[in-house]
Symmetry: C3
Subunit: 431 residues, 3 copies
């Protein structure tokens, strides 16, 4: 656990608040043999887009491990330890082959499971290649993304099927990946903090999303079978707009459409994006996303379907002045320090989502430590896991008093999430 700095209750007290406690290692460190690293490794993690694999191998760093990924000319994808088992030369300089990848230095040829197919300089009767394996991780390719499982082989879970990805009328499209120079957790927990949406993305810089995001919503945080959602309720004219965003165990998010404005009544509409927050190492994080694109005209905005970046995720330019004038998620999150220091925070009501999310992570870590399965593992390759991200807009007359109005909005949100959990909307088409 991190230590806490003292609570400052006098003016001009900088002198008493200079010591910077250490980060919360348990929740933030992701390397091999760290509590959180072992927890995250119990899940399939996306590491690259399919179309990033050309005739050249690609170096990757995932949770502090140096790896190389390639697709051989036979079409199979391999994810191997970066350094050749022979003498340590990087397979980034290897030759992608018909089957496997060949080290440039002495020509050892590795298959995707780590088997050594050839050791050309060794005597014909050498058995080394039959006994030794290069470190390798299994691969699963899906929707244009390449996933790997980096946990203990005996615990490899089924590849998860999320109900939002098989919605009729929608196709999944690989989106953008980008890198933030900070710890994964401060990126991941941001989505359970919708107040920042009302502020950072609206008040500060002018509306990065729709104007309606500028109203701070009535909020509830609800644990679901697959993780948690926030339920944000806002009044828009005669309507109540209920927005839900999912954090799915342990580092996947589903975001409801940011182009929603709550003006037109409509039922559950599902997410615009599924996104994974993948640690590169303790101080660097990759975001990698799938976009949910409607096959119907004019449902998904053109900018989203054509691959345009979601606003505010990366700096607006290289100019510090422009970043200061238009900060977004990138500036807000990365400037929390390379690893945010929990011992210096003062969490309030707006941070309830963050608190719940950290508790879920801590519970997952604890389960793995104790040899139990963490929540969120896929029970089967065929049974879709329900998720809940969506916007829904209902007509509802305004409450007579401010207090009643708040209660009314919260009740609608509460009723909807209970209905969804009972009867997941994304699964109804399967019945």
């Amino acid at each position: 656990m991190s230590t806490r700095a003292p609570f400052m209750n006098t003016e001009y007290s900088g002198y008493y608040h200079r010591d910077v406690p250490k980060e919360n290692e348990e929740l933030t460190h992701v390397g091999p043999n760290t509590p959180c690293g072992e927890y995250l490794r119990r899940f399939w993690q996306p590491v690259a887009y399919s179309d990033e694999l050309t005739d050249l191998p690609k170096k990757l760093r995932i949770m502090g491990e140096d790896l190389v990924i390639y697709r051989d000319f036979g079409g199979n994808v391999g994810l191997l330890e970066l350094h050749c088992a022979h003498r340590g030369t990087s397979l980034e300089y290897g030759l992608v082959s018909q089957c496997g990848i060949r080290c440039c230095y002495h020509g050892w040829l590795f298959d995707r499971n780590g088997a050594i197919l050839e050791t050309p300089g060794e005597p014909a009767d050498s058995t080394l290649k039959d006994r030794l394996f290069q470190g390798a991780y299994p691969i699963h390719e899906s929707n244009g993304l390449i996933f790997t499982y980096m946990g203990p082989p005996e615990n490899r879970p089924h590849f998860p099927l999320y109900d939002s990805m098989i919605r009729p009328g929608y196709k999944m499209m690989p989106g953008q990946s980008y890198i933030l120079p900070c710890n994964w957790l401060q990126v991941a927990e941001n989505s359970m903090d919708p107040v920042h949406t009302s502020f950072l993305h609206t008040i500060v810089t002018g509306s990065q999303f729709t104007d309606e995001f500028g109203v701070i919503p009535e909020l509830e945080y609800v644990e679901t079978p697959s993780g948690m959602v926030y339920v944000a309720g806002r009044r828009v004219g005669n309507n109540v707009w209920i927005r839900m965003v999912d954090n799915v165990h342990p580092n996947m998010q589903q975001v409801a459409p940011v182009w929603e404005n709550g003006r037109d009544v409509h039922p559950f509409d599902g997410p615009m994006m599924t996104r994974w927050i993948v640690p590169i190492d303790d101080e660097k994080t990759m975001l990698i996303e799938l976009r949910h694109i409607s096959e119907e005209d004019e449902v998904t905005p053109a900018w989203w379907a054509d691959g345009t970046m979601l606003p505010a995720q990366v700096p607006i330019s290289d100019s510090l002045e422009e970043q200061q004038r238009q900060p977004g998620d990138y500036e807000a999150q990365t400037s929390q320090r390379s690893i945010a220091v929990h011992g210096l925070e003062h969490l309030g009501a707006t941070d309830r989502g963050v608190i719940v999310y950290r508790r879920q992570i801590r519970q997952g870590i604890q389960a793995v430590k104790e040899g139990r399965d963490p929540l969120g593992l896929s029970p089967s390759a065929d049974i879709p896991i329900p998720t809940f991200s969506n916007d829904e807009v209902v007509e509802a007359r305004r409450g007579a008093t401010p207090v009643e109005e708040v209660k009314l909005i919260k009740d609608i949100g509460h009723r909807l999430i209970e209905e969804y959990i009972e009867d997941p909307p994304n699964l109804r088409h399967l019945k």
Copy 2:
């Protein structure tokens, strides 16, 4: 204390002189809770020029602490801990407001004393903002410079008034600030080492100042009520030119005009510049200066009044070759290593000023350690502190022998500094 390397007394002895002792931590480390850091924090320190504050906040690092400075639209300057007390986002991305600065992430608004004026996402009845403070340091603006006091609040001294800054006929003008990638001490002690002026600034590179600086002067180092001066006496024709430079406790300097040549007899004329050597951290130092500009024509050279950089303070160009051909203070000081290693030095007669200055710093550190006030604190906001930097040129017939000539020059210097300390020239106009 640092350890000493062995004294090498044989030729080709590199092999026996390879171990690099550690730096003298006591005098060089400046972070929170270090001996020297706590000593320097007992004094007001300049951190920025007034005109650097625009409608955007500015990130600062002072003595290893990360801070943000801003001037709000109400005109008040605040100097706060860089990271927001809520979730740690950098206030460098904050919004300067009518009163205070607002964090970009969730909109918390901080006043210059660290008070929290608003926490917009929190419930109306939240008392957090009434109990909690952001770390803050007090500010004093003077002569276009912004000073802060970063020591224990209960020990905050009066803001010092130096007599040289209220000389009739002179105005104070903000000058240049620049950064050296090395420890503060090796920069600060350079001014108590006038032999380097005769060498580095004259012999090596051709005259960076006047030709007369090329003569190694007769030197004395004298402790004064406000710090110390060197007294440098040189023969110029029928004149003796006495030059004094101040080191004022603990890290302020006053430099006599570098355009002096000693050819014309004149009385005490005061400094051309007051300069502070402010540690950014252990291995980075900011120089920040005020220029003393005469209101009379042709007293202060135009290049000094128009803001031109003092020669030799920064590299002449990006080319290593040009730096090698024309080294200045920058190259001489920064190349003493990022923190000069006292255990490798061999101090001689030329270093008496450095020895005295280090002893004064050590005494100040010791006082603070023992709970006493260090020398140099301002006793009152209204009583000017006497300082002594100046050039004075007197007519004096040459001594009959070299020995008598040396004695004669030294005696003149000695007499002058005794007179000045007795009756500070910069204060005479107040009588």
Copy 3:
């Protein structure tokens, strides 16, 4: 010794192979007081080309020591500790003088043996300069290279004379020096690994040398009085081509001509290059070379005599893609990590040369540790040390069976190296 990672004998076993053992410190660390550093310091090491010394001094870093080298206007070369014995200013900014180098800060003047010739600011009767020395190392200039000896002064060996450098009909020409961002050992051992030549330099990228290098040779590794050679035998038509490359104690190499193709019968022809692998520090290495150029026309190719870089030693361009498509020694060696980790290697038959070379280094280290002279010290300044690098091509009818053919090639190689050791070809002209 380094620890070993577990031997992986199952597929997809990345999870069990994540821990990276420490490097083998004994063989790789080169700073003062390290086992290997002290061993390497018992030999003369080249540090610069003569023509790199101009009227400006040059900063060097050799085996973790910061030094300055210069040639004074009297023509003498000095190699001194970088930082001035007075106050530590870098002599890189010093003034090269008629005799010695002068510090820019206070003008101390140092001679090449470290003697202090002048301390201009000190009193006339100061004896400091007569007692104190700047750290210095002795210099030997030879064939356009400047060598130094950085070991214990009492153990300074004779400057070695290698027989290959006094071959009639050949002149020595300074070549290229270049820097690899990795440890010295993985660079040095590469030359005892001829299988990589058959692979990296031929199969992977198309022939960087001649096509004949693409055949993996029959190999033997033989310890010689001056170090070791590999003996590589290849069939070329009716000929057997025997190639030998020297590693001379402890970090010198002699490479046989890379333009050899084995098609024409010829006797022992000597090296094309002598090269030293000089550690800058643990993670940076300088290669510095002499080229052996025939005085006869059309023996040495024009590209070699005109200073063109040997292929594959440095990246082909700044583009990662081009480096991936055409990796050479640079990519293969530097990507073994900044210090290759022996505990992760799996050495095979192709690595016998590396194994022998490491054993020789370990024996040399052990000798120095025990106070004995390591092998390879020059016994006399006048007696040439025999070396053996060369190509020789003999006519030989092909063996009746593959097994006999292998034996035949090996026997020829074995016979030749035994003859050479018995009667060193480079010395025959002296008889």
